[in-house]
């Protein structure tokens, strides 16, 4: 085997008893560890509750923002939020003919549904879930041409009274909730305080602009004055 001298052996120069290439490897290695640790701890780890989006990007599936009646949202998989039975989305789509393909919207490249599941139908191994599975199964046996695999279709059929199941399928939204989201009249007092704060903010911004200008003015004058004095010394003839 041949020994090769590269760059006139600069990297073979001993520094503190070790050749320089060892330090180069160490520096790049440490930089690799440091940058990866930075990405992990400052970017990826805090994003944990939203990793479902990355999973959806990676698998090419849609994502779901699943909510309960208290608007506690969770980014989860389509299968978990939509499917009655333990199967894949592809299988369910094939078996349920009128599968709803359009999503509520998009997060980046991922189609995303917002699903409100007040009775936690998505949680497996509960009495509610067993009842849904049983009713859907019975329907599918009787109607192989019109199968139900998604909670959405199951809910529709319950509402249309095609299926009867002994679990709550409808719930009341009270008038107070509707009124507070869609008030008949806009109350100007509700945002009067904000207007005052915004006025203060605008004032502060203008004042800080003025102060910056004053600083630039003094700074500029100091430089010009220094140049005058420097010029006098440079042109001084003994």
């Amino acid at each position: 085997m041949a020994t090769m001298v590269l760059f006139n052996g600069i990297f073979n120069t001993l520094v503190l008893g070790l050749p320089m290439w060892v330090y180069v490897i160490l520096v790049i290695g440490i930089l690799t560890c440091f940058t990866n640790a930075y990405w992990w701890f400052m970017f990826w780890s805090p994003l944990k509750p939203l990793h479902g989006l990355w999973k959806a990007i990676w698998t090419g599936m849609d994502a779901v923002l699943l909510s309960d009646e208290n608007m506690t949202l969770k980014l989860t998989s389509e299968a978990r939020a939509k499917l009655i039975f333990n199967e894949s989305i592809e299988e369910a789509r094939k078996n349920e003919k009128d599968w709803r393909d359009i999503t509520s919207g998009q997060i980046g490249v991922v189609g995303t549904d917002i699903i409100l599941d007040f009775e936690k139908w998505n949680v497996p191994d509960t009495n509610t879930r067993y009842a849904i599975e049983e009713a859907a199964d019975a329907w599918n046996m009787e109607h192989p041409e019109d199968q139900i695999h998604s909670f959405a279709k199951f809910q529709d059929y319950c509402e249309q009274k095609k299926i009867y199941v002994d679990i709550p399928t409808m719930t009341y939204v009270d008038w107070i909730r509707i009124e507070s989201s869609f008030p008949k009249k806009r109350n100007t007092a509700a945002y009067a305080g904000y207007i005052r704060q915004l006025a203060e903010k605008l004032d502060k911004e203008e004042r800080s602009k003025m102060n910056d200008m004053a600083l630039y003015l003094i700074g500029g004058s100091v430089i010009v004055s220094a140049l005058f004095i420097l010029g006098k010394f440079l042109m001084h003839k003994p």
């Binding site: 090769m4 994003l47 509402e159 200008m213 005058f228």
Partner: protein, 252 residues
């Protein structure tokens, strides 16, 4: 086997393994290349990941600031997580140039995602969004129109307000509105029942205009206060320039 015989200077060291040439390049150089490629590749991978996750990065900003995050539902069906400032029941961008603002009227419209308070807003309505209330209004219209589509239909926001005002809706549905317990929320369905001309941009512009008017009144009262720092700076600068010029030209 070919062995290069070279005179090794005293301050250099040639390792019997790491300095073996593989394709005319010593092994240590290959190691440097490998580690360098790992450094670049892993960082590119993270940058790619960050780019793909960019629509939701407002979550990180909100998390660092310890503030609520905002789920933004665009009319173009794009959902974004943004970090907006919440002050005095109003949600606004930090930059004044971005004028859109939203009033948080209903506490029920505040949710939770990833441990943070989450407000939902849309670009063409100036209140925070409560999807459950939206579903209820759509369902209400559907139920009402089943009974009154000919004589007194509910087809827009004004119909809704009129029917609310004359108490017909509450008479027909005294307990509230029945909605399904499982809903796939479609943000476009409510468009028909949103009040016209109430976009977040319009509301934000109006509020900013009001704030500017308030600021003008205030600055007219104490106009001199505004110019004191610049006046002092101007005077000091002039004195400094005159003195230095006089000194330089030998007049001092």
């Amino acid at each position: 086997m070919v062995v290069d015989v070279v005179a090794v200077p005293a301050n250099q060291y040639f390792d019997p393994i790491m300095d073996i040439a593989v394709m005319s390049i010593p092994i240590w150089f290959w190691v440097i290349l490998l580690v360098g490629v790992i450094l670049i590749a892993t960082n590119f991978w993270w940058i790619y990941k960050r780019m793909k996750m960019s629509p939701i990065l407002g979550y990180l900003d909100a998390l660092r600031a310890g503030q609520p995050q905002t789920l933004f539902l665009g009319k173009n069906r794009a959902f974004l997580i943004k970090y907006l400032e919440y002050i005095d029941s109003v949600l606004a961008y930090k930059k004044i140039e971005e004028v859109s603002k939203w009033l948080v009227q209903s506490p029920k419209s505040v949710g939770r995602l990833g441990g943070l308070s989450t407000l939902i807003v849309r670009d063409n309505y100036d209140y925070s969004v409560d999807p459950i209330a939206e579903i209820a209004i759509c369902k209400l219209a559907e139920n009402w129109n089943k009974m009154h589509s000919e004589d007194d239909p509910m087809n827009c926001y004004n119909d809704f307000v009129r029917l609310r005002d004359n108490g017909k809706l509450e008479d027909a549905f005294p307990e509230g509105v029945l909605i399904p317990v499982y809903n796939v929320y479609d943000p476009s369905l409510i468009q028909k029942y949103l009040p016209q001309g109430r976009s977040a941009g319009t509301f934000g512009s109006y509020i900013t205009q009001k704030a500017r008017e308030m600021r003008t009144d205030k600055s007219q009262e104490k106009w001199y206060e505004k110019y004191i720092p610049i006046g002092i700076a101007l005077s000091v600068s002039l004195i400094m320039l005159i003195l230095s010029f006089m000194y330089a030209s030998g007049g001092l």
